[in-house]
């Protein structure tokens, strides 16, 4: 069941990814508000993008496991070019490093964050937007981050 606390409704349409045997569990994970990442059942490494074989130990047992949904901004940019007709710029593109494993990076958008607050290392947490049958994992600043109160009043010119 969809968790309203983590589901974001956006005023535009994202391009829905194809749901395949390899990726469906990732792209639909947000239905219950939790992010799931592929994990090797032998050496316990997380793999993203998900693959059916672990590139470290070559084990063939890979399963999707829930993660905390917490991480930090690895890097960010305010994109101003319209790459997808249905998705009007500007919006924030980022890579987020998940808390579970160093180097476990996801491409995403950071939302609900004025550009002045964005920085490498900013603590963020996952939320989701619907695109077709998929739940697209997005990230926003962790509410109890020290800067949150100060930034709440700032007007952001970035939608996302």
């Amino acid at each position: 069941m969809t968790d309203p606390r983590t589901l974001v409704v956006e005023p535009f349409e994202r391009v829905a990814p194809p749901l395949t045997e390899r990726t469906q569990a990732f792209w639909t994970s947000g239905a219950d508000g939790r992010l799931r990442i592929a994990r090797c059942q032998r050496c316990r490494r997380y793999l993203h993008p998900p693959r059916p074989v672990c590139p470290a130990c070559r084990g063939g047992a890979v399963a999707f496991e829930p993660v905390s949904g917490r991480g930090t901004v690895w890097s960010w940019t305010v994109n101003r070019y319209g790459w997808v007709p249905s998705m009007p710029p500007p919006y924030v593109v980022a890579q987020v490093e998940l808390a579970e494993q160093p180097g476990l990076l996801l491409f995403t958008n950071v939302i609900d964050c004025p550009p002045q607050r964005l920085r490498v290392g900013l603590p963020v947490e996952v939320c989701f937007a619907r695109a077709g049958e998929a739940y697209i994992p997005l990230f926003r600043p962790v509410p109890d981050d020290g800067e949150a109160a100060a930034a709440d009043g700032e007007a952001g010119d970035v939608q996302g």
Binding site: R14, V15, A16, P17, P18, T23, P49, W74, S75, W76, T77, V78, N79, R80, Y81, G82, W83, V84, P85, M87, P89, Y91, V93, A94, Q95, F107, T108, N109, R119, V120, A131, A134, I136
Partner: protein, 384 residues
């Protein structure tokens, strides 16, 4: 161990018209470059028995590829004993690596190696860069970028190629103190070289103020951090050593780095030669975005990790009188996106002392050329 590098030389170089919105048939551009390269080698098309290209006729958005192996074989009436065209190579110049292997392995004697683009005309016809990535020719079409498995990890987030460069640049700015003024030097120095190169696309002066005020694509990437889509073709003839009609003009392969990754390709190249970074007289480094040239400077050992912005600061080191003249024809930023083939052409002309008005005063003896970025890379060390 026999080395493939010792068994092959570049005997001919050729270039078609290169420009913005030429509206020319890409097969005609291909023929211009190919016939020029074959003639430059002192050969006839009947001598060519191999063809190598990137990415060939199949994998394509409009403008990315102008001709494939079969197209050229039919176009020029070539009779080949070996050919290869494809997308999954060691960078765009992986087509040269393949040609070297073909002549070293004895499957061919003279390989025509080419790359043709018509992105500028395509983008005009379809209505912009993003439109060339859409289904149905861009008229209200949907992105078709899921053709490759990897695209699903970026398209739902509206991520374009410049965003990747921007993420790299932003991290350098926050963690290593890099500045936009430092990134700008890659573009500004390239433009100064281009001013003296009548084959470059953009030759008017570019100032720091213009760079800093330029339209942002994906902060901090501005238009001047991005190379320029053009129409054009570049071709080479790779010949088996000992079969060069004019050996004195041949350019020699010192070392090949075909490994995947900036660092890996560079390390492999240095591992195959006794030459060191200090021996390099001129560098033609892939500059699809300014930061890619910086990544190559670091990978090749001209400076340490995250030090390339300091290396290019002020523009002196990479200028014509500097310790490492870089992208001396204007690079792709001012010369046009000929996808690594333009850099290789410039390296050959400089090594032969035939670069004309923008020839370096001391004719270089050793050049390094790189193509591609991230996992799609190659590095070539050349000499004459």
């Amino acid at each position: 161990m026999s080395r493939a590098e010792s068994a092959a030389v570049i005997t001919g170089v050729g270039r078609s018209r290169v420009g913005r919105r030429l509206g020319a048939d890409p097969w005609v551009l291909t023929a211009e470059a190919a016939l020029a390269a074959i003639a430059d080698a002192g050969l006839s098309p009947d001598d060519v028995d191999g063809v190598s290209t990137y990415p060939g006729a199949f994998w394509s958005t409009p403008g990315i590829t102008g001709a494939g192996v079969d197209d050229v074989r039919a176009l020029l009436g070539l009779r080949t004993r070996w050919h290869c065209g494809g997308g999954e190579l060691a960078g765009q110049l992986g087509a040269m690596v393949n040609a070297v292997l073909a002549v070293a392995g004895g499957l061919a004697t003279h390989v025509l190696c080419f790359r043709t683009v018509w992105e500028s005309t395509a983008q005009q016809a379809y209505g912009g860069r993003a439109a060339t990535l859409l289904d149905g020719g861009g008229s209200g079409g949907r992105p078709v970028r899921f053709g490759r498995e990897l695209a699903q990890w970026t398209t739902p987030f509206g991520i374009g190629y410049p965003c990747h460069a921007a993420l790299d640049m932003r991290r350098r700015m926050e963690l290593a103190g890099a500045t936009r003024e430092q990134f700008a030097q890659v573009a500004l120095v390239a433009r100064r070289y281009a001013a003296a190169n009548d084959a470059a696309v953009y030759r008017e002066p570019l100032t720091m103020e213009q760079y800093l005020d330029a339209r942002l694509i994906s902060d901090p990437v501005c238009v001047y951090d991005c190379d320029v889509p053009v129409d054009g073709s570049v071709a080479f003839v790779v010949s088996r050593a000992g079969h060069a009609p004019d050996p004195a003009r041949a350019v020699t392969f010192e070392a090949i780095g075909s490994a995947s990754g900036f660092d890996e390709a560079a390390a492999m190249m240095w591992d195959r030669t006794d030459l060191k970074p200090a021996d390099v007289d001129v560098a033609q480094l892939y500059d699809g975005f300014t930061v890619y040239a910086l990544r190559w400077l670091e990978a090749l050992g001209f400076c340490g990790a995250h030090e390339a912005t300091d290396f290019v600061d002020g523009g002196t080191r990479i200028g014509p009188d500097g310790e490492l003249p870089m992208n001396t024809g204007g690079g792709q930023l001012s010369g046009g996106r000929l996808h690594g083939f333009g850099g290789l052409l410039e390296a050959c002309l400089q090594l032969r002392g035939e670069a004309g008005a923008h020839q370096l005063p001391d004719v270089p003896r050793v050049a390094v050329v790189t193509s591609g970025a991230e996992a799609f890379t190659s590095a070539l060390l050349l000499s004459r």
